[in-house]
């Protein structure tokens, strides 16, 4: 995977497959501490200890349609290559929390990449998913954040789905603008 945002999309897809109704994505770029931290928290079905151990193995997958599960091993390898680590906590029936930290300035660190694209892919899932997303940038002691909360958005929309074409376009522009402003400031 060439971008952090693709790893995030992949983990989010796992959460959705695990039946999550709530998904919280956080991306903290702390330039002062030279850390990039990603957390993905879901309320899906969770995993027991054995499963949690097994998902580190590329030749393990819960799905029946194929025999390899590369998502987590790839993300872990990326984090470790960048002087960081990937940790997963999970409780059966409660949910899963994944945290990856990387050295922000590490020469091997993939770019964050296209977060708007990633978010849009998640939002176009048909499941009724409450997504919260926070992208924080800390530099020279100042902190800026872009936030997306689909609960608020759904309230404004009533029964019009997020995938409705005009809404989709609005979301696309809203997220792209928010991410762009974060970069510029």
């Amino acid at each position: 995977m060439r971008e952090i945002s693709l790893h995030i999309l992949d983990v989010a897809e796992n959460a959705i497959e695990a039946g999550a109704r709530q998904l919280d994505l956080r991306l903290i770029e702390d330039l002062d501490a030279d850390r990039l931290a990603i957390t993905v928290t879901d309320d899906g079905r969770g995993m027991d200890r054995d499963t949690l151990y097994q998902i580190q193995d590329p030749f393990f997958t819960t799905r029946t349609t194929r025999h390899v599960g590369l998502g987590i091993p790839l993300f872990a390898a990326t984090a470790e290559r960048c002087a960081g680590a990937l940790n997963i906590d999970s409780t059966p029936g409660k949910g899963t929390r994944l945290e990856a930290t990387l050295q922000h300035s590490h020469i091997d660190r993939p770019p964050v990449g296209d977060m708007p694209g990633t978010l849009l892919c998640i939002l176009m899932r048909e499941q009724d998913l409450a997504l919260t997303y926070r992208h924080t940038l800390i530099a020279h002691g100042t902190k800026r954040t872009f936030e997306l909360d689909t609960v608020q958005i759904r309230q404004a929309l009533g029964d019009v789905p997020l995938s409705y074409p005009d809404v989709r376009e609005w979301l696309r522009e809203f997220i792209a603008e928010g991410e762009e402003q974060l970069k510029e400031a």
Partner: protein, 133 residues
């Protein structure tokens, strides 16, 4: 998030949308993109964005959805097109540069792009098990 202004936008959109939503849902075209690890690694996110771009450019109303892995990983990115009263067609290995032609021929002209339609044209090395339903 910059709340008030943007949420007002949405409320306005909601009113517009509700008027036409019912009719639209009955006649709609649905485009589905596979978004498992396999799809993502093969570029499905970019394919989906190319689809959104093309639909916007041509002002076509279609429902676009993402789904997880459906087990034909080597054929990713997979794109499914369903239209009311038409057979469902799955396109294999759809890269962004192919999207324009698929939308133009399939959605605008109503002609399946046979050479990219998976299962329509039997592909070398793939058994009958891979034929779409």
């Amino acid at each position: 998030m910059p709340k008030l202004k943007s949420l007002d936008d949405l409320k306005r959109l909601r009113e517009e949308a509700q008027r036409e939503l019912t009719i639209r849902q009955q006649t709609t075209t649905k485009v589905t993109v596979g978004m498992g690890t396999c799809g993502i690694a093969a570029g499905a996110r970019e394919t989906m964005q190319a689809i959104l771009e093309e639909l916007k450019k041509r002002d076509i109303d279609a429902h676009v959805a993402t789904v997880g892995c459906i087990g034909m990983c080597s054929k990713e990115p997979l794109v499914d097109i369903e239209q009311a009263g038409q057979p469902r067609v799955t396109y294999a290995n759809v890269h962004p540069e192919m999207v324009g032609r698929i939308i133009e021929e399939h959605l605008v002209n109503g002609e399946v792009v046979d050479e990219w339609a998976f299962g329509r044209v039997p592909l070398a090395g793939i058994g009958t098990a891979s034929q779409p339903e």
